[in-house]
Subunit: 236 residues, 2 copies
Amino acid sequence: MNATHERDEPDAAAALSLLQATVPMHRRLVRPGEAVYRAGQSFTSLYLVNSGTYKIIHLVPDGREQLVRVHFKGDWLGFDGIAQGCHGCDAIAMDIGEVWSVRYATLQQACTRQTELLDLLHGAMSREISHDREWLMALSTLGADARVAEFLRHWVEALQRRGLRTDQILLRLTRAEIGSFLGLTLESVSRAFSRLAQEQLVQFETSHREVGIPDSQALCRFVQRSLSRESTAAVS
Amino acid sequence: MNATHERDEPDAAAALSLLQATVPMHRRLVRPGEAVYRAGQSFTSLYLVNSGTYKIIHLVPDGREQLVRVHFKGDWLGFDGIAQGCHGCDAIAMDIGEVWSVRYATLQQACTRQTELLDLLHGAMSREISHDREWLMALSTLGADARVAEFLRHWVEALQRRGLRTDQILLRLTRAEIGSFLGLTLESVSRAFSRLAQEQLVQFETSHREVGIPDSQALCRFVQRSLSRESTAAVS
DNA sequence: CGTCCGCTTGACAACTGTCAACTGTTGTGG
DNA sequence: CCACAACAGTTGACAGTTGTCAAGCGGACG
């Protein structure tokens, strides 16, 4: 599939094989735009991503939608439902993919026997919490250009951990969706992309969704510089 | 202590008594400014808050600090450490309080025997994820005034769930700390408070840290109104 | 009593949102 | 095959919000 010979993220591979070995689950194929689950739907199962890309969105009454998060292979979907008993967001497939659904009750019982499974689950939830916190901090400290750069950096990092190519990434999101995630308007996202392109940090080919990343390190440096310039919102 | 005769949040009380009954733990008293754990410190234990208020902060190299979250009785501290093996933030006591520390390895073993404990833990982590997501959305959609209102609303809600008085709350945070949490400058926070006071949504007594909330419902309405006015950052 | 610190307020600058025009692509139907 | 509409994206001009800088107030504490 790619130049690195399917060297998937260790965690992702381990999670998938362990789950396959210990718990009964249901493989489900999804098509672009199809929902894995929807907000309000009662919580019964967790979903482990085997392939594809998924967006978590929150629908506001007006019909507008807010992008909350993007998930890749090895990620779990649906943790938000455990506490409340129903899901708070929609999980939508962005391309053809496969999720493995596991009944939560079953998983719970399996956890009492398999400590590795418990580790796996807690690790995934913990990572989810850390990830959300990183974004909380990013949103409260970074300006528009740096937010878009950080968005790309995270995407690249996610692909990197899964052994996929990172010099050319395909965002299956509109500018408006990216903006709704970053707290910006679509125009601000577009301008940010233009400025990043001017600084040679990204390149656009024929499609505006395909982003060339010549040097992912340079993106990190850009975000770091932006952080150190902003003495903003700091204490003493 | 208060008019409602110590009617604590059911969840919090249940969590505390269940933990006490099933797992060996260490009661630890903390004083204002004392750290429960610090960023970089290796992860060994989780901490369940028995009393007091705690802030989770992230220290940036420059010595500046970023407020990430505030915790109350019944909340767990330290989930972010599970995946990475060390804590990513500092947890600092804001007043005198008591936390119950439980070795994670021990807790894990106990979970294999006590399903209720597993439920409890997963519920807490799930709630943490939902909570962070709510704030992600708030930060990307709300203006300055609404963010401050939302901040107060959350604080009130947290006290309400624990059966404490909510008409008069004591923020143990400076304007700068609130600002760092909300992605605003201390001046913007101050101005937002002034505008909320003008609209009779809050009242300030002698101290600027004591906030009177005559009608917490009105705060909700204010945030809702603010949301519907902003067709911002929406998709189609 | 004086200093330090947290808070408020004002004036101005910078950034982002709003509105509008325009380009380019895609898909549909004549 | 072309005309057309629909849609994603870019760009410019301008307005609104928030950040920056500066001044001043008042309580806490030595």
